[in-house]
Amino acid sequence: MAKYAMAVDLDRCQGCRACMEACKIENNTVQSVFWMYVFRLESGEYPDTKMSFLPRPCQHCDNAPCVKVCPVGARYKRQDGLVLTDFERCIGCRYCELACPYGVNYFNWTKPERRQYLDFDDPGIAAVTGGVLPPYQNPDLAVKHGEEQRLTAGGGHFKGVMEKCTFCVHRVEKGLQPACVATCPVGALVFGDVEDESGEVARMLRDRAHFRLLEEAGTRPSVMYFGGAPPTGDSKEIETVKARV
């Protein structure tokens, strides 16, 4: 059984947020939802200003607080390390979101079709897409995954249920990289099986020092950060996205 993990090379990350975009399109998430988010941080005072970038996918913790608190087991941890949400079981209590110290959970506050980017009800487009919404909808997301065959892939399924990064379970099960990793222009994101000694992640763990976010919280994240440094209290976020709706 593989044990998936992500390595983030902060010495490479250019904070371009392509990963965020790839994630949104791959997973058809709706407006102002960012399963993958990249902080652009600034600290220090002019002219000794320091800048840094910090990608924040779901940390897929081995000791996941969200999984612990889920009252109905909709949020669960798979043997292969993925932390997923069963969209057909979630009751929408949003307890997982509060338990998570990383703020990676996104709730479907309303019917997904109400939060599309454009009004796609256009005959011209429908002619091409057959009225699919969004027009670029990814069919893999309608498919159930894992041994338990639970509906866990992609976003924008139901009103009133919780969503978050799935490490692109539907791609991983196909043997592909998560969308964010695949698109990263500078290879700052690496995904793979930590237990595979020949794998890139294992190699990085051998060769380089790394830290994990909020380790003191004891969540044991599956996302390792190489280079750079964890954000300090002094870190100020700049260039926030349009997410406050």
Partner: protein
Amino acid sequence: MSTATQEARLPRGVGRLTRGWTIFILAMVAISALGWIAYIREFTQGMTVTGMRNVGTMGGATWGLYITFVVYFVGVSFAGITIAAVIRLFKLDHLRPLARMAEVLTVVSLILGAIAIVADLGQPLRGMINLFRYARPQSPFFGTFTLVISGYLFASLVYLWLTSRRDAAVLAQRPSRLRWIHKIVAAGYTDTPAERERHSKTTFWLAISILPMLVVAHSTLGFVFGLQVGRPGWYSALQAPAFVVLAGVSGTGVLIVLAAIVRKMMVRDVGLNLQVFAWLGRFLMLLLFVYVYFMVTELLTSTYAGSERELQVTREMLWGEYSWIFWSAVIMLVIPLLGLTIQAIRRSWSIPWLVVSGIAVNLGAIGKRYLIAVPSQTHGQLLPYVDGSYTPTWVEFAVVASLLAFGALVIGVFMKVLPIVELEETGHA
């Protein structure tokens, strides 16, 4: 004799529909209706109609007014059953007039708590099924929903019923439109010594078994928050005990108010004398003392030893966005405490004062519940998200208001069906 005059003879104003009462009931129905309209909106359009949003990038609070009131309602329930039990256990006969209303209060507020939880679910219908189908003991939520809502509510209902049987039986002896109800409630109770004996035994044991469960139940609610490492301002061992105590405070407060109202409504003296209120006053004072003590220690630890983020949340609470809520809550709790202390020392109790204190501490309690829930979300992010904010929408206010109204409604109706104050032991068989 006309039935009217016959009913007139039903004690404690049971069955007597005064004008004031009718108006009150209609008002409550109206408010509840408003709440339903609001909720239907929420149910169909989704919780986007509330002020709640995701924490983090969306910069909101994902638990808001609803959870605040879930906690508050469950808190209120605490005092009721406790006091009732205490009265039974320690045979505090001069407090007996409180017992019934205390029990009713518990049942009602628990029901409200349950409804509030459902109102907060994104998938309420699924929730009702899935909780029974999949609920996990590993989730602090489990206790809240099994013990608190089902177990505790059920126990209180049993308790209420058993302790109401005798009065029901007494009323059932007289002709009235409500007789059938009284017959059912009485459930064949014939006031024989043997039955009394058995009854007191049962209630005694019930009380004994309910009390510990109470503490457990309220603690679990505390754990819902207290066990979260990821939330500055939540993660604290004090969370659970503090919950229990504040619960007592709010509950006792409501009880005082309720008692005062009943006292006004009753034509004859029903034994709700100053002595009773004095006892409630002392009880409330005691709880307030303990709570304020907890509050201070809590603040001290979080400001003195608190982490960067802990500090920020506390800062926000003391001087920031939430300071007005915090300080008014503090005032609402401390002023009554002083007032009560003074009265206790001077051994002279004023009912109006007690009522004011009762209301004040409840507002204070609500404020504190809100402060536990919200700031840790909007300002307690551990990653460098820009701080958020949360303002409830009319939908949330409407739903909460309708819950309160519904509670009042139920109590109001109860009063007209069964005596809200136990009938005295007449001794006749």
